[in-house]
Amino acid sequence: MAGPSLMDSLFQRSVDDIIKGIRLSPPGTESTFIAKSLDEIRREIKSTDPQTKATALHKLTYLHSLHGADMSWAAFHSVELSSSSAHSHKRIAFLAASLSFNPSTTEVILLLTHQLRKDLSSSNVHEVSLALSTLSSICNPDLARDLTPELFTLLSSSKIFVRKKAIAAVLRVFEQYPDAVLVCFKRVVENLENGDMGVLSAVVGLFCELTEKDPKSYLPLAPEFYKILVDCRNNWVLIKVIKIFAKLAPLEPRLGKRVVEPICEHMGRTGAKSLAFECVRTIVTSLSDHDSAVKLAVGKLREFLLDDDPNLKYLGLQALAIVARTNMWAVLENKELVVKALSDVDVNIKLEALRLVMCMVSEDNIMEICRILISHALKSDPEFCNEILDFILLTCGRNFYEVIFDFDWYVSFLGEMARIPHCQKGSEIESQLVDIGMRVKDARLQLVHVARDLVIDPALLGNPFIHGVLAAAAWVSGEYIELSRNPFEIMEALLQPRTSLLTPSVRAVYIQSAFKVIIFCLNSYLKLNGDDPSYPSESTYSDVKSDYPGRFETVASQLLSDTEPDNPNMVVKHGQKPSVSSKMHHLTLESLVALVNLVETNLGPLAGSNEVEVQERASNVLGLIKLIKPKLLGCLDTREGDKANGELKASEMVELIFGAFSEDLGPVSLNAQERVPVPDGLVLKENLRDLEEICGDIELPLSTSFSLVKLQTMDATSNLEHHSKEEFEPSTESTSLLAEHRKRHGLYYLPAENAGIISNDYPPAHDPKDKASDETEDLVKLTEQSLVIKKKPNQAKSRPVVVKLDDGEGFKVAAKAPEFKADLISGAVQEVLLGNEATTSSSRRKSSKKSSKRREMDESNVGVPESKNEIVKADMPEIGFSSSGRRKHHGHGKERKHRSSGKDKVHDHKDKQKSEHGHGKHKSRQRADGALAAQSPVIPDFLL
């Protein structure tokens, strides 16, 4: 099949044929039909007959646009056809080009330059308009540069039809080729006074887009915009002008005073909802200091909210959220409407309402709001339910629970949330539960109750979404076991058979908590029987837990006295449990032995688990039991003499571990790690391959700075293992080797903080006490950021203390925020200002991925007027004062002048830029520069 034959041309299928063909082809075979048609098109498009070619291209465009057929290969054919003398062919060619060309990668665009230039200067307005439309959709920097002169001419064309399109096209050209601003800007501005709606609409639209990117530069044009605002009666134009003022008003307070009145007038008068809404939004965003206007706007918003139209309701809520920033009363006034919107049929509206409800939250109403929201959550579909939970958690947890007054309530509320059937926010609830445990001492008692209820309920174990919550509950139960009313019951819950449903990591937490519980029970027992003078522990751990003076006594004695089972309804499936459970309330040797047996039976199988975490933790517990049990049994069997002896040994061990566990965990600053200074001689960045060499027997001299520090493995979780092993077992060969190695090559290990560190798997935490007692200098620094724990008498209504790390958390953020902001706002601008030339020219040369490039271009475009504005801004203050006296005398006439000087300054700057580009036009302009520089202090007193 060489070229298209005559037959092809004669019997070529039309676009309509293709469309019908696709419609008629049975479902599933469209793609074959399309592929066949594409083959035909490939043949036909090569035809020399323009009609055949045009039809082929037309068909291809259709398939491309609606059926996603690739047509990049046909780019050249579009170019070819565009030079056809028949307008219909040209139309098809340009349509194909504008629908399919990629401005940054289609290379043949350059070949269109000549044709476009010709068409732009054509006397046929339709050709011109076609060329302009095409230009605005495929414009790239080269095209923009080459066609700027033609565009400049068209901007003052006497034909309205052409002129308005030229104005619309100019935006794209400015974006692609900022230097075009120099040439065209003045003419564009002149069009602001044009009476034709089409032209006005186009030019206002253009400025609307431009001001969006960089409002400051367009302040000098405010008088023109103001005139349009007052005189124009076309809603489309008004909306855009109001949008422009929404951006200009915040920059210049006097402007706001001036425009607020006409805007309110429009709002009151218009019947068009779109215009009214634009007015409302402008008032609430940009003119929010004008109270009377805001009142009017909020009144209008209320109309929107009351309307049946969901669109108005949605937008009303959105606008209300904007008002909420400055005028909270507006939201409170419409509270019932907002709450009603929570049960709307439309999820978008519900979300907006939810956002608003959350911004009404304060200390006084948080409980009420949460109650309302939870009742909504229970009624809603899962998706929205979780949306609600998300918002609640976010709001309540914000800034260290600043809105929460009653933590007992909040903690129970968290537990309640976890039980909501659709709840998928387990991880967030989990972290808050643990976090509150660490930060809020006064909430712990309630927390333990909540955790108990969660851990004990076997039904919850089946829901994977709340495993996180269970992990937190288990951790809390273990960590604060001394606050629990019945440790035995907790132990049973932690070991219940359904825990096999948990994920390994959660299960590991369960086992670890069981470990803590058993230690606590053993210790309490030993302590109670510890009238024995040889029992050493008393002082040690009551010091440690000084925060709870007398608490264990209470709990422990309660254990002895409390004969009633705390929770008789508890469902226990495990065979030996019921009997155990009833007996366990007496902390006797027998009950302890039963407890130990229970743990042993349950954890025994887990020592062979495939999951490392589970296995390791189970082994730890089992290891302890192995050591303790014979002693306990010994005590049980033998008489007085031996008993004391056995007990003593056991008690020492238990007491040691208990001491380790009983230190209070505090919150850790996120950047605590960063603040640990690297000690001298610690090489962090060197390649570890050296290690092999070192291991190959070269003995390093021990650096003194390390010899003092006890070394520890990097892995925090493995800490525990070493701990317990080192303490309870004669060190096995491997551990001793490891220790040996560490001693020799301390360099490659992290220095340990201290032996006293709590080996805990759960949240990594720095203990205040630990830090304080540490001698090493670096850790002293850590202490300085330490916790602000102030004990407050537990009065009925005072807010519990929430522990914060002052520089660690709050301050870090505060310091960061402005930086972040500066980065967003001025970063781009500054970059452009400094590296303007680089970005512009480089992006002009390179034609790579469009979107990112384009953005870059936008910015460079923005940057240009920006710099001019620096001048304006710098001059502003003094002028504001100096001219204030004259204000009355100089009326409207002055504005003209100011405006033009402003405008000229745009040119100034452009000139400078241009001269750097070496365009060589700069000489004459520079003279003008001088003249204008002298004038420049005369600055707009904008509308006044």
Binding site: T61, I239, R281, L315, V361, E402
Partner: protein
């Protein structure tokens, strides 16, 4: 409030017209159309006509069997602010619930909100214009006169800006073309 795309889609989700005002490649277009159309088609009459999708705010309206969807730049408004606050772990609202973290309000967040209602009116204008030209416009009219529909759009929107809102002005050049 630049318009980023105009789509016409039938009830089955087939695209009947697609005009983009920024370049997207074929895959991007297909993905975008698929996702947005699915979102909009799933909604019912009682729900509002606005859907947020990625960086677009989509305003849609159904006429008979055709959905008209217009994608507008969404300056992410409040949600951007929320995002920002969440990232920084800062309160959006201060303690008493009145007042706002002003330092965070970036000009971009405030400015450039699309006027959704104006876009709805634009859609209506487009439909009326086509109605006037085709006389009771239907899906087939658009299918078989796709290029005309594109030209109408071209008259109304350039570069994402609405430039012409008078029906007779929009249709004048098209009627000329028909005569020619």
């Amino acid at each position: 409030m630049g318009i980023r795309f105009v789509l016409m889609v039938n009830k089955q989700g087939q695209t009947r017209l697609a005009q983009y005002y920024e370049y997207l490649n074929l895959e991007e277009r297909r993905a975008l159309e698929g996702e947005i159309v699915r979102k909009c088609l799933a909604r019912n009459e009682q729900q509002c006509s606005f859907v947020e999708h990625r960086n677009y705010k989509v305003v849609y309206r159904r006429y008979a069997s055709l959905f008209f969807l217009v994608g507008v730049d969404n300056e992410e408004k409040l949600s951007a602010l929320h995002q920002l606050c969440n990232n920084l772990d800062l309160p959006i609202y201060n303690k008493s619930g009145e007042g706002f973290n002003h330092q965070l309000i970036h000009p971009k967040v405030e400015a450039g909100l699309p006027n959704e209602l104006a876009i709805l009116e634009f859609i209506h204008l487009l439909v009326e214009t086509m109605d006037r030209h085709f006389g009771n416009v239907c899906e087939l009219d658009i299918m078989f006169h796709l290029e005309k529909a594109h030209f109408m759009l071209e008259e109304m929107v350039m570069n994402g800006c609405i430039v012409e809102t008078s029906k007779s002005n929009i249709l004048a050049p098209i009627q000329l073309m028909d005569k020619a």
